[in-house]
Amino acid sequence: MSTLDRIDALRSEAESAIAAATTTASLEELRVRFLGRKAELPNLLRTVAELPPQERGRVGKAANQARQGLERLITERGAELEAAELQERLAADRVDVTLPGAPARPVGRHHLLTQTRREIEDVFAGLGFSVVEGPEVELVYYNFDALNHAPAHPARSTSDTFYVGGMEDVVLRTHTSPMQVRTMELRPPPIAIIVPGRVFRPDSDATHTPQFHQVEGLAVDVDITLADLKGTLLAFARAIFGEQREVRLRPHFFPFTEPSVEVDVTCFQCAGTGALAGGERCNLCKGTGWLEILGSGMVDPNVFGYVREHGYDPERVQGYAFGMGIERIAMLKHNVPDLRLFYDNDLRFLEQFG
């Protein structure tokens, strides 16, 4: 057998063995066997010098090629085997992925009243209204007088209003409306504000709590109309209750607006039909197709009379005001059956929202 034949034979033997290797350890054995210091192929290379000169070139080249080829094969095969072995080790290192996660504290929740207040604030912020806040213990002047409540208006009575500290002129505000005049005293027209906040009335039953929350709105300029009120509240109703909603204005009476209207929105549960899919009467709107959401109207000229010197000449400026109950909006939207749940603060209630 010529040397060249021997090289070929060694090469094919090694190639088969490498291909058959199943572990990195056995591959290492093959490397030693075929390419190690005592292996035949490297030794063949070392003996090239002893060959006749006309053979040296061919044999040397063949032996070198065989060695390089085998080294490459071993490297490649080694990478394959390492990857497979890593995969196997990882597969063995498995966890039960269905166990609960490590105990980072789960997030808490905003109270539903906060969530609703923020939704309302954000709608009106988008419509250009600034958010202002004011005192909860309030002067009768701002709560009633400057809002054009007649001296004998029943809302002033102790059965409708909490008075404070034995004083006749200090109350817990019964609405967020006092901020109308307070704000107009500070900012000349045009203005567009909303006033979220807590208000108080001495009622306590299934549909009244002695504290609750309102969002007041006030927009004043030289040309703001009742139609603008309707459009603004339509935008609000659609943002909160869905794009398909419509609103209607129903005449009413409030001392500080003229004309005054209550605003109804089409029922989102029955789409304003008054009937549910099964034909039964809609329980949310009691079959009327409409839900009352707030009271509003055009600011009464007498209210402007209280801030005339601040730039609110009743002959020159006009605008609208509205006031809505945050609890009412939240109850309607989230189907909360009882007002008192908001103040009970049971965690099983709180966790459902926010």
Binding site: R105, E136, R198, P202
Partner: protein
């Protein structure tokens, strides 16, 4: 205001169902609270009957077994308990199947063994009166009653049922507290014809302009009593009112008393204006005088209560002193009695605010006071007199003495207000055709005349107080039709502002969001609390938190003050949830707290408070026993919130009565104390049923947020050159606060030392008792180069020296 529809139909009768009418009223500004049905149902089972025989029940002395003809030759056996039943009477019969006012369906029944096929009716049983002492004997009750044929439908002769609208009348519309006022509103809202008012034909018209003889009336307080009218009736026979009148009063919610009182009530319900009947023989000296009460003066009102009066109140006195509390309630002394024969009928108008004050101070509200306080018109005095006069003559056999007392006369001339077309459009955002207003306003009782730019509108007396300006007229034309067609537009924003939240409001949201992200649930507590909470918080006398806002008229003692701290409501919520089985609590609240202020208003601020108790983290399969919440759990939460707001703060030992004295801190921003942090005093925790640490903090957001809101972050280059980090451990005496060590290190290492934070605390025998080792991360930084250990060696040496000199610190290891 209860409006019986059958009564309303005397004046207007729209071609609408009751429900449709209610909707139409609601859409034009008159809220309908409820629709009632007054009286009986299944009318076919109510008939006229004639008692043929009435025998004593064999087994019951008080029952009679009657044979009653009920029409078409039928005879029914009816057992009757009334003492007045007798053969030959024409009676009202309910037969089986009849539905009584309370909804029960009449069946056949055996009474003491005798089958009864129905009932012979007393007036209270069908809601046309309150008497139950006997059956209705129609022969006496109805003109021509004895001629009624048995079997005649009872509803042909008695008002057995009516729908009743219960209206919510807004305080600006006292005219709609009268049925005719409602009829006018219905007329305007529906277009149904309106009959002439019931006062159109006044039987006393001839006597207007002079007073009747023998009566003297003086009005001293003209400001309180703009008009006082009176008429005198002689030969009055007090008795029952006829069924039709009683039925109407009942349906409207009034109890029939006797014919004279019933007439005053009926006239009030119809006209809206209260009347008062005096027994003229009990008016001492035949003389009435209106004046302010004297301090300490007393009067026994009709409800048999002795009232002490004050000089703001107005009385009507006779020769013997006060006999009536003007506008509120009559006096007992001059009340109409069964033997009354001479009646003085007073119809006056009183100043609304004065009546309101009087009834509020005396806590005495009456049908009269609630009407007068809304402000009635002087003109309607005579309208009420006219209605009552006709009924007095018809129903009591009385004779009207010639003349009418009239002190004050009609009110001021009606106002004429220009309603400009342009103003209507400008306010509504929609034009209303002038022709429409020209029809709408007269239907409501306004006069209209054309003007160049609109209409000149004359305001009727019954709207005098309500409609005084152009805007009020715009409302009238808007509500009757125009609103339905209103477009929806949005105003231009010329405020020069983008709208939205202030920076402080955004930061408050951020604080809340961080707390929620940290796993705390937000609660919304009561502003009200009970005074006892101050004791449970162990607040000593004179503690500033005891200077609470006190309600003058609380709903209860438990809700009689306003919370001076969020702890009150937060602990209530925590305790309630704990009692319901929630073991681990992490709660916060953001809300107002109150103390007395220096002026009339309270000192309020928005506080942010949190409470943690139980496990600081949820237990899990990996860590079945997580650490319990304590001071540091609360501090970690507070630190996370304030760091998120980029608020530099520190805690300093401080005492609060309600906090654990060894685990209490003041929260300082700069040198400003903005709140507290700590574990609750165990006695306070126990007062809310907690027997383990409860850690809390509360900060005043009104002090924390505004300075932060002004801050804008400006760029600093922290990336071009890396910082150098080193650790240092120092042993100090146990009573040296860690914050003090950090402060010393920072001061000494500045400016190259950029940060220093405690990362380990060690106490052990090898340090010796009373010694503690604090390990700190130090971070050095230069803006212009990468620092080496040699670069920072001088700063580090300064730190070591400062620790040695200022806090007795020794470097460890």
């Amino acid at each position: 205001m209860r409006v019986p529809l059958r009564w309303l139909h005397d004046y207007t009768r729209p071609a609408l169902s009751t429900r449709e009418l209610a909707t139409r009223l609601a859409m034009t500004g008159t809220e309908v609270e409820r629709i009632h049905r007054h009286g009986v149902a299944a009318l076919e089972h109510f008939v006229v009957g004639r008692v043929l025989t009435a025998e004593r029940h064999p087994d019951a002395d008080r029952l009679s077994v009657c044979s009653v003809a009920v029409g078409e030759g039928d005879t029914a056996t009816i057992v009757c308990g009334a003492p007045n039943v007798a053969a030959g009477q024409t009676v009202a019969v309910a037969r089986p199947g009849a539905v009584m006012p309370d909804g029960t369906v009449l069946g056949r029944a055996k009474l003491r063994g005798v089958a009864s096929e129905g009932m012979i009716l007393a007036e209270d049983e069908v809601g046309i009166g309150t008497a139950h002492d006997g059956i209705m004997v129609l022969d006496d009750l109805l003109p021509g009653g004895d001629g009624l044929v048995p079997g005649t439908p009872l509803s042909d002769v008695l008002p057995l049922e009516t729908d009743v609208l219960e209206l919510e009348i807004t305080p600006n519309r006292p005219d709609c507290l009268g049925l005719y006022g409602v009829a006018r509103e219905v007329h305007a809202a529906t277009g149904a014809a309106l009959a002439a008012p019931p006062w159109a034909d006044d039987p006393g018209a001839a006597g207007l302009g002079h007073a009747p003889p023998g009566v003297e009336v003086g009005v001293e307080s003209r400001d309180i009593c703009p008009r006082f009218t009176a008429r005198v009736f002689e030969d009055v026979a007090i008795g029952d009112s006829p069924p039709w009148l009683k039925a109407r009063l009942m349906a409207a919610g009034q109890r029939p008393i006797n014919n004279v009182v019933d007439i005053t009530n009926y006239a009030m319900l119809l006209t809206g204006h209260p009347l008062h009947a005096f027994d003229l023989d009990r008016v001492a000296g035949g003389r009435l005088h209106v004046r302010r009460a004297r301090a300490g003066e007393t009067l026994t009102t009709l409800d048999d209560v002795v009232r002490e009066l004050d000089p703001d109140m107005v009385v009507i006195e006779d020769g013997d002193g006060p006999t009536s509390l003007a506008g509120v309630m009559g006096g007992e002394r001059s009340e109409v009695a069964p033997d009354t024969t001479r009646v003085l009928l007073e119809v006056a108008v009183w100043d609304g605010p004065n009546i309101n004050r009087t009834s509020t101070r005396l806590n005495l509200r009456s049908e009269a006071s609630s009407r007068f306080e809304k402000g009635l018109s002087p003109e309607s005095c005579i309208e009420a007199q006219a209605v009552a006069t006709r009924l007095m003559l018809e129903l009591t056999g009385a004779r009207l003495a010639d003349g009418t007392v009239d002190a004050g006369g009609p009110g001021p001339a009606p106002a004429v207000i220009r309603l400009r077309d342009a103003r209507v459009e400008g306010l509504l955002g929609m034009a209303v055709p002038r022709e429409r207003s020209r029809a709408t306003l007269p239907a409501l009782g306004f006069g209209v005349a054309d003007a160049a730019d609109g209409l000149d509108v004359t305001v009727p007396h019954f709207r005098r107080n309500d409609v005084t300006r152009e805007a009020d007229l715009v409302e009238e034309v808007a509500r009757l039709g125009a609103l339905e067609d209103l477009p929806a537009t949005i105003q231009a924003n010329r405020t020069g502002r983008a709208g939205g939240l202030t920076a402080a409001q955004r930061l408050r949201r951020r604080a809340e969001d961080v707390l929620v992200g940290l796993g705390l649930h937000e609660v919304v507590g009561w502003s009200f609390t009970e005074p006892g909470v101050l004791d449970r918080l162990l607040l000593p006398a004179g503690d500033p938190m005891r200077d609470v806002v006190v309600l003058s008229n609380p709903l209860s003692e438990a809700q009689s003050i306003l919370r001076p701290t969020l702890l009150a409501s937060l602990l209530d919520v925590a305790a309630r949830n704990r009692a319901r089985g929630a073991g681990d609590l992490a709660l916060f609240e953001c809300g107002t707290v109150y103390r007395n202020g220096s002026g009339p208003l309270a000192d309020e601020h928005t506080a942010l408070a949190a409470l943690v108790a139980g496990a600081a983290l949820p237990a899990s399969w990996r860590a079945p026993e997580p650490p319990r919440a304590d001071f540091f759990a609360a501090k970690g939460v507070l630190d996370a919130v304030l760091r998120a707001l980029r608020c530099a703060w520190r805690a300093e030992p401080a005492q609060r009565p309600f906090l654990h004295p060894g685990r209490a801190a003041s929260v300082l921003v700069g040198e400003d104390p903005v709140g507290f942090l700590g574990e609750l005093h165990p006695r306070v925790a126990a007062a809310w049923d907690f027997d383990e640490p409860v850690a809390v903090f509360a900060v005043d957001l009104d002090r924390v947020l505004p300075p932060l809101a002004e801050g804008v972050q400006t760029y600093r280059d922290l990336t071009s050159f890396p910082s150098l980090r080193q650790d240092i451990a120092v042993v100090v005496a146990d009573d040296v606060p860690a914050q003090r060590v950090v402060d010393v290190v920072r001061a000494a290492g500045a400016p190259v030392l950029a940060g220093a934070e405690v990362f380990d605390v060690y106490r052990g025998a090898q340090l010796g008792a009373g010694r503690v080792s604090l390990a700190l991360h130090l971070e050095f930084r230069a803006a212009d180069r990468t620092l080496t250990d040699e670069d920072v060696a001088p700063a580090r040496a300064r730190v070591v020296a400062a620790l040695r000199d200022q806090v007795g610190g020794e470097l460890r290891g």
